[in-house]
Symmetry: D4
Subunit: 247 residues, 8 copies
């Protein structure tokens, strides 16, 4: 809503004060610039609305997608294979069973932005890694995968230093003891987003061990998202990656 | 160490293979480009080495600063007033008692970079906020303080939307229940770094309540650092803020 | 039991001291006014006895309902669809599969009392919300549902301020980080009952994150019930809502 | 701000669209009715602004009180004796060392409202109880104290049933195992606010044992505030107590 | 082994020192009086060896029972219905599906000892209660069941005071908030064994809430066993109940 | 109060129904046999009222003792040396600085009852041990101390098997890992009360490690009281020890 | 890579400095001796690469084994029966369903090394014990099993002292309260590796109780691995067992 | 005690059976070979008895040392400077204020054994490191200190690979996130003992973060001792280091 135009119309007499009041009340926060942002901002900035698929029925998801109209590359996360199959007949979607991400109205990103590196400790973290990777890619970032470079065999990580150090942002995904984030944090100068995973057993406590490790990282420049939150890591990585240079 | 120059000297015969081998072993990782980075990278990129003052004696701190030579704006965090007084005679430092940060070889930053906003829930979080703010400022970022805008009186935050939305990165500092990070995360499109503080009592558990709130934020684009880790928040904010535009 | 009448009968000789002693022992606490209250108080005050269905067999539930006689609108909570089906042939019940609440001897409430608002953060909290809503409604309160107004999109909540502010009591239901309770608590002047839900993952710890957020709310006037305890929230909301004015 | 009047002025031409836009932006949330409420609502409803004294300096507190002007009975909680002494010369305050509550601009409440009962398990909970009691009294409620009626000697509680059952709201304060809330909850029909205290030792874990007991109460109609949060209990009790009758 | 007899034989020459040494080594701890006790003590004192059925295969259980020979009333706890069915053809057992206890070589106890009261908060705790009850009964104690006397309806408990107060030992079984143990502890003068159960949800944390309540009981004379450990409660109750009078 | 006598007086006409009603109301629970028990029962059974000294002022303690009149051997636990010194001029007390127990109106127990053994793991647990020992002794039990017999040097414990096995009840006090309770539980046939202590460091978590060890004891017949609760252990030991033989 | 040979070639002129630089960068860490070690060290020292089977598909596992070539006795841990069956047709493996360990390219160890004793508390810990035992055996250690010697029947353990005391290293496996490690630690002079298991219930918290017990062991010379980590215990035991004597 | 000699004396008639019985009872466990071991074993094997100084008074400590007689190099851990000063006049001790270890009857170890490396993450862990180092040294091991090689600057650690890889056992001491143990574990083939320290803040939870990291280490061959337990780490390192070669 264009405040000034509305007020001009009131001044012009083409809109009555009562009618203007009604419009303001009907969408009281559009004026403030954050209500519409939820729709327009994402189109403008490359981040479309994201649908958290867990706990929603296929018809609910389809309804939301339909309301969003002709938006491309709508992310639907945590979607089961069954739900994806059910949606498939109704929507135009692609589905990745590893990350459990579907993309509605998929369209190839021609020129992906910058450089996001997803580093992971082991092959068991694959689904979380791919959730991060596909999220960032779908939003428009260029993603490099650096999997299975855990600290138990440090040379695997060190032999890829050039890749790590050329990233604009690194997403470090690790379960077990989660030491990867600290080691990566000490090797790069860009922001590092740590994603603890629930991979492990015993005193891992469903990812708490990795989470605490990452929060207490002795390396600076590391921040953390929720356990198994690959989406959150990939989304934030894209937010950082797409930043334009300082004016 | 300049690898190629050394190899050239071996080819020239001015350095024997044995001598070259010795030099490679003596500093084996300098060749790889990350050993020296600890020194050079920071000078080059605006992030100097940071000294964690807690648990170090003033003489130890002074020794480290002296080794670092004529580097400007060396951050010394978590420094007590007493230690600062003791250092004062020996080093050229400024000291801020609220954030407990000292800066050695202080020098005014002429053109601070970009825009970091530090938002806080209440006045009790002040020391953590200032730790974040002074860290980012000393590293070279332009910082705007938006304090006491907690969610219990939402209008205080909403009336500053323009400031929030013009940030390149927001550091959201909050104790108690830490809801500020979620609310800010829903209002801006830039990266948000959440810093939980130990302000509170009872089931706050020394900051755990705010930490969990922030990790579980329903808003995307939010990541978290350790409880009371204002330095970590400010440091990472600067890392993100100083990013140049995507090529 | 009428103490004085009994004592009078002893004085009259129509009841012997031994007989009176027996009667006192047989129902020792009826005299005190709280034994019978369990039956009479609820009828008188609008809160009928409630049956916690989980862990009871359909025959046990049917037995309890039958003992309660012709009481209307008996709440049976946490009842599975299977148990409801089994009860259906034996009792006159309605059953809502979302909230898993059955109502035995259902009867329309003609003039529901006051105003209870149930606000929720997302659609995944629906079953807890409905447990609260149907509980309060069945007990006799007028309930307004305000769902999916979580803080990640604050304008959704703010656009309904009139509804929130006209409530006599608000039940704020939220999972994830549970920030809704604090934000609502800062916007209204009536009592707020916060119901944390187990919706979320990772460091949500089955609702603990939301629980701690709510217990540490920086907004005054907020109290908390157990995780996923929609019934408890709705029941207490009715208790508050039905209060008559101060004498 | 009167939206319609402003729009009328725009229609009249007495205010230009630009000027109107400026006014809307300058106080965007005043229009919505909740920005000013923070001031007016409390005066109107009997709940003045409350100052959390912990972590604020006496000059800060005095400054806030002075800004609030001639408001009576301003609560200042968690204030140390030393801070109270320092404030005493500057403000007109009364101070209670047990609850650590000061009241600025104290004025006798002539006709306290309704009936709030504060029940406690033991004498060690006294400071939390008094924080609740003085909070509710200062806000305008009539408070009855029922102390040292813990469940280890049940007859003490049962002999006061008449007091308990005549309350409009009960605040049950208990440390150790916190069973008082459940027992009280089973005896009354009004809302019960449970306040766990940190009184105890060992596996009490600073009040966690009592907190969990209260959250899991098998009695309906009980809700919980933070550990040692006497203020929160008293404040909410007053909010409930002052409710007018249902229309 | 009879030490003195053996030494006498050595003195007699009927046993050589080497042979005696061998016998001492072969069963070194029989001499000390605790190796054989595992077998003889229980027969002598009424507590037979108990078999923890969980995690043992039916053939393993049958093997142990067979080794124990003609001992009567051998308790087998935590036995599934399936395992019981399988054992049934091979051993002479009775099986109770509620407590999941089997008794091998069952024999009626003619004169059960003393008086153990099992009190419980609700009907959901039934299996734990029965585990305690059948354990104590099978070991030889007289058991009185006092079920569904939780503190939410205190009169139910108070109306049975005579039963409670005539016990030699009370086992208080409760889930949810576990307040029953404290209330019972305040009403009786005999030892009280509290058994927390995992009945409940949310912040009950699988019985932790009840466990902490019971450990922090403000009533003296209460001790606690593990969550859901009905067997432990019943076993200890029998140990206490069977005590003879002080000499 | 003698119910029957009162009723007889009503029948006799020597007491009017109104007067009788008044008496019943004035002490409504005396009739039921548990109100007065708090006073009479203890005198009769050897357990006098106990005063928890922590958090009470010396004048409060003195007041309670004076109300209790000429009762001998009143236990006052958790009393600081300073408080004891202050009480000393006002009451006739003995004070033990190790256990921090004072005894008011001390009188030698001529024939202590039965046999309570207090076993401890190390010398650091001394104050908790003595709290248990002096509690049981003051209540009338005969106590044998078996200190510093921790499992790290098992022979120390095994060489005292005769003492352990002749006990009517054992109180096993241990910090660190608390394994003593399990080992003792496997060696004796009498009830064992385990008292975890907060002695230890690191992952001991203030006694939690020992507490969990004891709750999970693989030996039957062991129950647990709160961390550092020597009083609770000694009190319960006396309750068990004083039991008369089964009728 | 042979550093010196390369440098000699540079000196010889047979390799140019640029070419040498490229080779150093291409495999920068091979020079340091730890990249290849992952392959060669294990063959040389008796510890082959180990494959963690959980979370890997049979084809992935087969692929890794095939890459490892003709290495004998490759351990594959945490492998389900189904996965083992599937692998069986493709690889030459033996499979033990109790420990869930498969060994690829199995070959009898002719002269197992030294002496590792695996002691366990009960029969329920069998799978963890066997994981430790088979791991150590497959790596080349001689293993003695000492099962079901828990502290509840101490004589069972004490009667095997000779076996325990002849070990070079003991692996103590225990669930429930985990006291076995402390008792063993007090009886032997060799290193003790404690393996907590998740066997137990209630306040065992999935092995946390045993873990804490073991970490807090009052016996010196005990260290701990993760809950249920039989592999880790057996692997470390072998590392210690195979140590040659001090030079 | 020499069993056989005693039995021979019985056979000879020089000792009566009763006298022999008495002697067996007086020291029943000496026969079994572990009672005396506490004294003799340590002398024989290089590990003298160790005195845990915390919670013992200087006179108690002096008493224990005096009983131990002319044993050299008796370790006294966790001794305050004050206690050391007080002991100094009475015993022949050396004292190290960093590790808080005193050594009574100190004597230089002429030929320290093998090679123990103590690696630490930062300078704040110094006291724990030195507790480990001095413990191992005093027991007779040769110790190499490798301090301040944390993973935030990985090159520091990698440049010392030769030292790490020549160790017979490594003690890895780290606070904060404790990742050092995993990185070291991946670089060496000898046993690694991880010692978590309480250095850190916030979600470090007094060392829990480092403890969990170490327990979940993805590197094999790592075991863990209690938080801040430098003594335990050094003691176990010596036990392993002193192992002779396999027969």
């Amino acid at each position: 809503m264009d405040h000034k135009a509305l007020l001009q119309q009131v001044a012009d007499g083409s809109v009555t004060p009562d009618e203007a009041l009604l419009r303001l009340k009907a969408a009281p926060f559009e004026d403030l610039g954050f209500a519409n942002v939820d729709t327009h901002r994402h189109l403008r900035q490359g981040c479309h609305e994201v649908i958290y698929g867990a706990g929603k029925t296929p018809p609910q998801i389809a309804g939301i997608v339909e309301v969003m109209g002709n938006v491309n590359n709508i992310l639907i996360t945590r979607l089961s294979q069954e739900a994806a199959d059910e949606l498939n007949g109704r929507l135009n979607i692609t589905y990745d069973p590893v990350s459990k991400i579907a993309v509605a109205n998929p369209q190839k990103i021609e020129n992906p932005l910058g450089s996001v590196v997803i580093a992971s400790g082991g092959t068991s973290d694959l689904s979380v890694c791919e959730e991060a990777a596909i999220t960032a890619e779908t939003l428009g970032s260029k993603v490099t995968r650096l999997y299975d470079v855990g600290v138990a065999g440090l040379h695997r990580l060190l032999s890829r230093l050039d890749i790590l150090q050329s990233a604009r942002v690194v997403v470090a995904v690790a379960g077990m003891e989660g030491a990867l984030a600290s080691v990566v944090g000490g090797l790069v100068s860009c922001p590092v987003i740590a994603v603890p995973t629930s991979v492990g057993y015993g005193a891992n406590f469903g990812g708490v061990a990795a989470l605490l490790t990452m929060l207490n990282s002795c390396a600076s420049g590391v921040s953390v998202v929720n356990i198994d939150n690959g989406f959150g890591g990939g989304y934030l990585a894209h937010r950082i990656n797409r930043l334009e240079g300082c004016p």
